[in-house]
């Protein structure tokens, strides 16, 4: 009996995955892309043929070859290894910054959504005011003011993400606030904190989770943009944005590989996150919406 179930578990899992993939090919492709990059990031040590920050002074700006698959950049460093290492940075920035966004945004969204009134109005107007600023400028300003370090970049992105999570969670809470089961919870004698965290949060989180992937995409893109603009992470750190910055100078002179390869990696991962988030939303929502 147990042998049979042990054998059938991977089979069932396999079928479940195929079922999910059929339901949303978008999500499946997105997941595959993210997985590939994640694996590259985790196993970078094994996969990288060269040390990403080792300079080969004699091999500066060499085109793709058998030795340097993506060619070398202006410092003679292997672009391929740097692109792989860059995925570590991408995740290393995306994950903590989204986490910060969630940590800040979700409680605020819960609270203002539930309480409503003046507090809610004020908070939302503040956020509305922030939206007036072009995000890039805002990010630039904050990082420039606080100093160019990885931690600052992560924190800034997280801070900018927070209002979006607030909005999403608040929307769910607003919808649920006057619903029957919140009323029933009140009738039963639940104190407010319990209504927020035990009853509303799990349901409100659903919308936030779907956003997470999309925000991760944005985090990767923004950090690359900041680096490209010369703020935040700088050379010789193998971060895609920084690499594109350096490579941009060389495109004109014909050494396209320095910028294009990290550029493609950036596009692909951002696409992967977006597709996954989109597809996940499709899969999650119609299922949850079923019921009487």
């Amino acid at each position: 009996m147990s042998a049979a179930t042990a054998a059938s578990l991977p089979a069932r899992l396999g079928r479940r995955l195929v079922g999910l993939a059929r339901r949303s090919p978008t999500m499946a492709i997105g997941a595959a892309i993210i997985l590939v990059f994640a694996l590259l990031a985790i196993f970078h040590g094994t996969v990288m043929p060269h040390d990403p920050v080792r300079a080969y002074p004699s091999e500066v700006l060499k085109p793709p070859s058998a030795r340097f698959w993506f060619g070398t950049d202006g410092n003679g460093m292997d672009v391929f290894s740097r692109v792989i290492y860059g995925s570590l940075y991408a995740f290393g920035i995306a994950v903590p910054s989204v986490a910060i966004g969630l940590a800040l945004g979700v409680p605020i969204g819960l609270w203002t959504g539930y309480k409503g009134g003046l507090l809610d109005e004020t908070t939302m107007r503040v956020f509305d005011a922030l939206r007036v600023f072009p995000i890039i400028i805002l990010a630039l300003a904050i990082v420039a003011a606080t100093g160019q370090s990885l931690a600052n970049v992560i924190f800034v992105i997280g801070l900018i993400d927070a209002p979006i999570f607030v909005r999403v969670v608040r929307a769910e809470v607003l919808a649920l606030r006057s619903s029957n089961f919140v009323e029933a919870a009140r009738a039963l004698g639940n104190p407010t904190w319990r209504i927020l965290f035990v009853h509303l949060l799990p349901n409100a989180l659903r919308g936030a989770i779907a956003q997470t992937s999309v925000r991760a995409a944005w985090a990767v893109r923004i950090s690359a943009t900041l680096a490209f603009l010369g703020v935040g992470i700088q050379q010789p750190t193998p971060e895609w944005g920084a690499m594109i910055r350096q490579g941009a100078e060389f495109i004109v002179t014909g050494q396209w590989w320095v910028a294009i390869f990290p550029g493609c990696a950036l596009i692909l991962l951002v696409l992967g996150f977006n597709m996954f988030g989109d597809g996940a939303q499709d899969v999650l929502d119609p299922q949850r919406k079923s019921g009487k």
Partner: protein
């Protein structure tokens, strides 16, 4: 000629589960009944019995993954199942009409009432806009809306539940159909309004010689407005006949249960168990589908039960029905 004759109708839902397996829900299993002009047939049953689905199957309004897999629906002699979609579309709204549930949600919120009625009329008749509008006002008056000229210019959200239901009835009848199906026409309406709506439908049937099917879960509606009744369970009809017979002397255990569980008949403390788990349409039991809940079930019920009773009269599909 019989206005409508449904024979051995089978409708299934075919879908894939998350585990990528094909699953078939047998939602209608051999439904058969007939309807003559000037008569009202009530279709009762619990949620999931297949009442609305029967209406949708007749009207040809099924959407994937639901499909008719077998059976015949003879309307005025023509089989609707094998009719090409354009021909069926031409009949719908013209000779066959459906009054849907939830009237306020079923009207286009962005068009005035008169406009929507005129649209329904012009879809099937070659008339100009002015004539269509006149007809719309005529229908609004016919369904008893006071001040119909003014009402025709109203927006759906300005209507009460009862008024909206009347508008839907007007829309269904505007092209003088021969068959009208009303799906839960009074659910959600106040008791005092309910009677007015039902009187209206009954009046139209008698005056114009239509045939009507009223889908409801309210036995009171059936008792007072339906000439005949068909009781459905798990996608099949378990008992049918003249209302007076079926409700006063039910023969099938499910109908007996249903009638006895109404508040008017319920005896508190009798210890009887009514109702039970809803049938699993993905895995119906062999033989009689009511077997798992039936207090009289025995080994014989593993075989599909026969129809008991005189043809055209009070029929019950059971191995051991109550004597007539």
């Amino acid at each position: 000629m019989t206005l409508l004759s449904v024979e051995d109708l089978h409708t299934h839902f075919v879908s894939r589960s998350l585990d990528n397996e094909v699953r078939v829900a047998r939602a209608l299993n051999g439904v058969g009944f007939s309807l003559e002009r000037g008569r009202i047939l009530g279709l009762v049953g619990e949620t999931g019995a297949g009442k609305s689905l029967t209406a949708l199957s007749i009207m040809g309004l099924l959407r994937p993954p639901a499909r008719i897999v077998a059976g015949r629906i003879a309307f005025e002699g023509q089989d609707l199942v094998s009719l090409p979609p354009e021909r069926l579309n031409a009949l719908r709204g013209d000779r066959l009409a459906l009054i849907v549930q939830n009237p306020r949600a079923s009207l286009d919120p962005l068009a005035r009432i008169g406009e929507q009625l005129a649209r329904a009329h012009r879809a099937h008749r070659r008339v100009d806009a002015a004539a269509a509008r006149r007809r719309a006002v005529e229908m609004l008056a016919a369904v008893g809306l006071p001040d119909p000229e003014r009402r025709a210019r109203a927006w759906p959200h300005e209507l009460s539940g009862g008024m909206a239901q009347r508008v839907l009835i007007a829309m269904a009848l505007i092209n003088e159909p021969q068959l009208v199906i009303a799906d839960e026409p009074t659910t959600g309406l106040d008791v005092t309004v309910q009677a007015q709506i039902l009187d209206l439908i009954q009046g139209m049937v008698r005056a114009r010689g239509l045939g009507a099917i009223v889908i409801t879960h309210d036995l009171g509606v059936v008792a007072h407005y339906c000439d005949d009744v068909a009781v459905m369970y798990a996608g099949g009809i378990v008992e049918q006949g003249a209302t007076r017979d079926v409700l006063s002397r039910p023969r099938h255990p499910y109908t007996i249960n249903l009638v006895d569980s109404t508040p008017e008949r319920l005896v508190i403390g009798s210890g009887r168990v009514f109702g039970g788990a809803p049938p699993n349409l993905f895995a119906l039991p062999e033989g009689c589908h009511y077997r798992l809940r039936c207090p009289r079930a025995d080994a014989a019920c593993a075989v599909p039960p026969p129809w008991s009773g005189a043809a055209g009269g009070h029929l019950a599909r059971c191995h051991r029905p109550e004597a007539p």
